[in-house]
Structure formats: structure tokens, C-alpha cells
């Protein structure tokens, strides 16, 4: 049965005006929210460039800090130190995080241990970063009786693990069960199915998770305060205190000298650029080899 024409057209006209209005309202809210997210980011970056770009020169990237009172000097040792500590942290945190995530998603379903691991990861994620520093301090620094790059790496690795674990788990859960069954049905052992099918299918999301964890710890200062400790000269030894950009920025920013303040701004800019470049590189590298039409 068709409703009477006049009734239909009138209500539809009202209805469509209403829907039209709501559509615009919601679209507007979405755009506003996007702007709220982007504006602070752009503002910080622009301000950093404005304050920091002028102190960036060749010396900044090639020299170690100059003594107080002398002009010039750079943060080369801090950049190298940050690189070393982050490579250490990633090489410990990423494998452990991914392995724990694989356990949660593929082997631990419904098991008590898995629930405990998941809970621990969530709690660990919310613990202030300085506590991680204290943990690494009492576990490693107290025993060895000296600060070290290694202790800094461990503190940052502990911070990376929960994020990576939970993202890996969630990404593996999005891999359809039918794909695992396809592999098992071909007589592929479970471990091989997990490695070559589940993990591979979930890899874009897992890589994103690792990058997020990396970017987060790259800027951490607190966990390094009593672990890597920082220094003012070149150091390549994992067993000795090492400089790191966030530490150097912290020390310079709270100092009373204008010259050091300028260097701190430059350091902050370099830190952000380093994070942006490494995340972009990994994205490009990880995006290669993806086939046309692959989801």
C-alpha cells in the first residue's frame, strides 16, 4: 500500500531538511575536532622552528657541548647517545612486546596467565615514566654501582613493552579466523601459521604500534635521569653514562644561560624531526612490497 501522496511528500520534505541539517552539523563537528587535534601539533612545530632553527648549524650536529661561557658547541654526542639508547631499547622492547602479544592472541585465550599478563600490561602502561627509571636504577644501576647506556635502554624498553604487547594482540585479533583455518587446513603447523600468516597479515598495525611506542620513549627524559644520566662528551660504551637529547634539553632548559636556552630549543626541534623522520622511514619501508588490492 502506498501512503497518500500529500502526506508522503510533506513529511519527506520535513524529514529531509532535518537530515540535511544534522548531516551538516555532524560534518562540522568532525572538522572542528580534526582541527583541534592538528592545531596544537602544528603550533608546537612552528614555534619550535621559530625558536630553534636559528641555533641549528653544522657545529650543532658535529660538536659536543661547549663549556659554560664559551659560545658555539653542539649536541652531536646527545644525538648519538639518544640513537644508541633507542636502538638498545627497541632491540629489547620490540621482540618481547610482540612475543607477549602473540601469546595473548594466539595461545593464551581464556587462560589465567594471559589475563594476568594483559592486566599487568595495562597497569604498566599507566605507570609514570619516572617509576620506570627508578626500577631500572634499582635493578641495574644499584648493582653495577654506576650509570650506563644499558640501564637507560632497559628503562625505555620496559616502557615500550606494554604498548607493543597490547597493539600486537589487538591487531592479531583482527585477522579473520578463516585465514588461520586456511593455513591449518593445508597442513601448516601452528607456529608457522602464526609467523607467516597471522603476524604477516597483522604487520601494518603491529608496525604502527611499534612506531608509537618508539616515538613515545624517544622523547622521555624522566626514565633516563638515573639510568643513562647524561654526559658532556663522546661516549660509545654501553656500560658508561651516555648523553641523550631529552636529558640535554632538560639540563640546558633549566640552566640560567641564554646560549644554552637557544641550544635547548634547537635540541627539541632536532628531537621532533628525528622522530618524524624515523617514523616516516619505517612507514615507507614497511609499505613496500604490498600488492595491489591487498587489504
Amino acid at each position: 500500500m502506498r501512503p497518500p501522496t500529500n502526506y508522503k511528500s510533506r513529511s519527506m520534505r520535513l524529514n529531509s531538511a532535518w537530515r540535511y541539517g544534522i548531516n551538516h552539523l555532524v560534518t562540522g563537528l568532525a572538522i572542528l575536532s580534526t582541527a583541534l587535534v592538528i592545531v596544537p601539533l602544528v603550533a608546537i612545530l612552528v614555534y619550535l622552528i621559530y625558536k630553534g632553527a636559528s641555533s641549528l648549524n653544522l657545529d650543532f650536529f658535529t660538536h659536543i657541548p661547549a663549556p659554560v661561557g664559551e659560545t658555539g658547541g653542539g649536541m652531536a654526542n646527545a644525538m648519538l647517545g639518544s640513537g644508541i639508547v633507542l636502538v638498545l631499547a627497541s632491540s629489547m622492547g620490540i621482540p618481547v612486546g610482540i612475543a607477549a602479544g602473540v601469546y595473548l592472541a594466539e595461545y593464551g585465550q581464556g587462560k589465567l596467565l594471559a589475563m594476568a599478563v594483559r592486566f599487568t600490561a595495562d597497569v604498566l602502561n599507566g605507570i609514570p615514566s619516572i617509576v620506570m627509571g627508578i626500577a631500572a636504577y634499582s635493578l641495574i644501576v644499584m648493582r653495577q654501582m654506576h650509570f650506563s647506556a644499558f640501564a637507560g635502554g632497559v628503562a625505555l624498553a620496559i616502557m615500550m613493552v606494554p604498548t607493543i604487547t597490547r597493539t600486537t594482540e589487538e591487531m592479531l585479533m583482527t585477522v579473520p579466523h578463516s585465514i588461520r583455518e586456511a593455513a591449518l587446513g593445508l597442513g601448516v603447523p601452528k607456529w608457522r601459521t602464526v609467523l607467516s600468516v597471522s603476524l604477516r597479515t597483522a604487520s601494518p598495525g603491529i608496525i604502527t604500534g611499534c612506531m608509537l611506542a618508539f616515538a613515545r620513549v624517544a622523547g622521555e627524559t624522566a626514565p633516563l635521569l638515573f639510568t643513562a644520566f647524561g654526559n658532556q662528551f663522546w661516549s660509545f660504551k654501553l656500560n658508561e653514562p651516555i648523553a641523550a637529547l631529552p636529558l640535554q634539553i632538560y639540563v640546558y632548559a633549566i640552566s640560567p644561560y641564554d646560549e644554552w636556552h637557544r641550544l635547548a630549543w634547537g635540541g627539541a626541534l632536532v628531537l621532533i624531526l628525528m622522530i618524524m623522520v624515523s617514523v616516516t622511514l619505517v612507514r615507507i619501508y614497511a609499505g613496500r612490497g604490498v600488492l595491489k588490492g591487498a587489504s
Binding site: 578463516s178 583455518e181 587446513g185 593445508l186 597442513g187 601459521t193 600468516v197 591487498a294 587489504s295
Partner: protein, 252 residues
């Protein structure tokens, strides 16, 4: 060549639900056998017991004897060994989304550590030809993802993938139910050709499909096998009242 399957006193459970109750059945080698019955009657569970996929669900278990030739698959072999001898095609096409068409078809061999390129090439071509897909994809084998094909093509690719490991038995769980009529008829033609070389067990909701492709048909109802006979007999002179009710559309 295919191998016959002998099922004796097979019982299966999901948690406390007794999904399969004392199934006894002889599936002849190199023939197509259809399993029909209403949804939830246990026919999918039954085929999943034939390659031990049933037990991948943590709450599932099964008892009884399933003999594939002389091998009791629940006693004499590991699930992984059995699944290499028994190919499976699922209801929905399930290509590996990260792999090319070539890698999808070769996956059974590659993921089991097989690396000889010449043999892989040859196997991929032979399997895709056997699945009647070769002509459509031969130019994009390594360029296109398996997931970029149409649904019907994906399902034929999944059949090729199952054939590539050279199984003796091919289990098909409603292989055409997610496909359009043209793709369905292609799959049925394919089953018709394949059954001279493989023992095929096909679960279907479509009784015409059972009649078209299978020599023998089993009717399942509420976890029990009500009747098993030649397809002709089942559809013309069923011996059980419940089978007759089902095929004449009085229920289900």
C-alpha cells in the same frame, strides 16, 4: 589418487553440546559424496572431523574411528600430517590477503618449507589449470593479491591452493554458497572433473547441487546421520520418512 574413508562410531562435542552422535559411514574413493541437512545438523562438524580441524576449537572434542585407507587418523597420525593429505575448501573464500595469487596457491608447499622454484612454478600452473582459473590469472600471478580477485575466482584459487599439496581427499564445506550462479556452475563443473582423481566430500544446502555432482548422498538431522545411499535413491525413493520430508521441502 583418492582414498576411501571409513567412519565408525564418530561422536563430537562442542563444550557440552553433543553435535555428532554415533556416525557410521563409508565414503568410497574417487567419488563425490554429498552431505545434506538443515543448518546446525552437524554436517560441517562432520567434515571438520575428517581432517581434525574440529579440535582446533579449544572446547571441541571427538571420539571414534576415522580410517583413511589403512590409517586411523585419530590414532596413527598427527593433525598436521592428516591435513596435508586432506585438502579443505571453506564456505567463504579465504585467500591470504598479503600474498600474491602465486604465493596463495604455493602457500601449502612454501609454508612447509618447500623452496624448489621450478617445481613450485609447475605446481602452481598445474593446480590453477585443474581449478579452471589459469587462463584468467596467468598474466598477474605475482602482481596481484589473491584478495583482489572476484569471489568466484577467489574460491577457485582456494581450490587450486588445496590441490597444490596433492591431497587424496578434498573436503568442501558449502563451497558455492557465497557465490553467484555462474561461479557456482563453474565450481560444480570443477567438482565433476576432479572426482576421478580425488575423493570428494561436499557439504551443501542446495539439493540440486547434491544431485548434480555426487554419486552418494548422506542426510544429517540433529547430529545423527539419518540415511546414506546413492544419490538417485535418496532423491527418488528415500527409505526414511524424515529424509523424504526434508527433500520434498516439508521442513528445513
Amino acid at each position: 589418487m583418492g582414498v576411501g574413508i571409513n567412519v565408525e562410531h564418530l561422536n563430537a562435542w562442542y563444550g557440552t553440546t553433543h553435535t555428532l552422535q554415533d556416525i557410521n559411514l563409508n565414503i568410497p574413493a574417487n567419488h563425490a559424496t554429498a552431505l545434506i541437512g538443515p543448518s546446525g545438523c552437524g554436517k560441517s562438524t562432520f567434515v571438520r572431523c575428517l581432517n581434525r580441524m574440529h579440535e582446533t576449537n579449544p572446547i571441541a572434542r571427538a571420539t571414534g574411528v576415522v580410517k583413511m585407507g589403512e590409517v586411523d587418523i585419530y590414532k596413527d597420525a598427527s593433525p598436521v600430517d592428516i591435513r596435508r593429505r586432506v585438502g579443505m575448501v571453506f564456505q567463504r573464500p579465504n585467500p591470504f590477503p598479503t600474498m600474491s595469487i602465486y604465493d596463495n596457491v604455493a602457500s601449502g608447499l612454501k609454508l612447509n618449507g618447500f623452496r624448489n622454484k621450478a617445481i613450485l612454478d609447475e605446481t602452481v600452473e598445474r593446480s590453477l589449470k585443474a581449478a579452471a582459473l589459469w587462463e584468467e590469472v596467468k598474466d598477474d600471478l605475482k602482481k596481484k593479491s589473491g584478495a583482489s580477485l572476484s569471489g568466484g575466482q577467489q574460491q577457485r584459487m582456494c581450490i587450486a591452493r588445496a590441490l597444490a599439496v596433492d591431497p587424496e581427499v578434498l573436503l568442501m564445506d558449502e563451497p558455492a554458497s557465497a557465490l553467484d550462479p555462474v561461479s557456482t556452475s563453474k565450481i560444480e563443473d570443477l567438482i565433476f572433473q576432479l572426482k576421478s582423481q580425488y575423493t570428494i566430500v561436499i557439504v551443501t544446502h542446495n539439493m540440486q547441487q547434491a544431485a548434480r555432482v555426487a554419486e552418494n548422498t548422506g542426510f544429517f538431522l540433529n547430529g545423527k546421520m539419518v540415511e546414506f545411499n546413492s544419490t538417485d535413491k535418496i532423491f527418488t525413493t528415500p527409505s526414511d520418512k524424515r529424509t523424504e520430508d526434508y527433500i520434498t521441502g516439508r521442513f528445513g
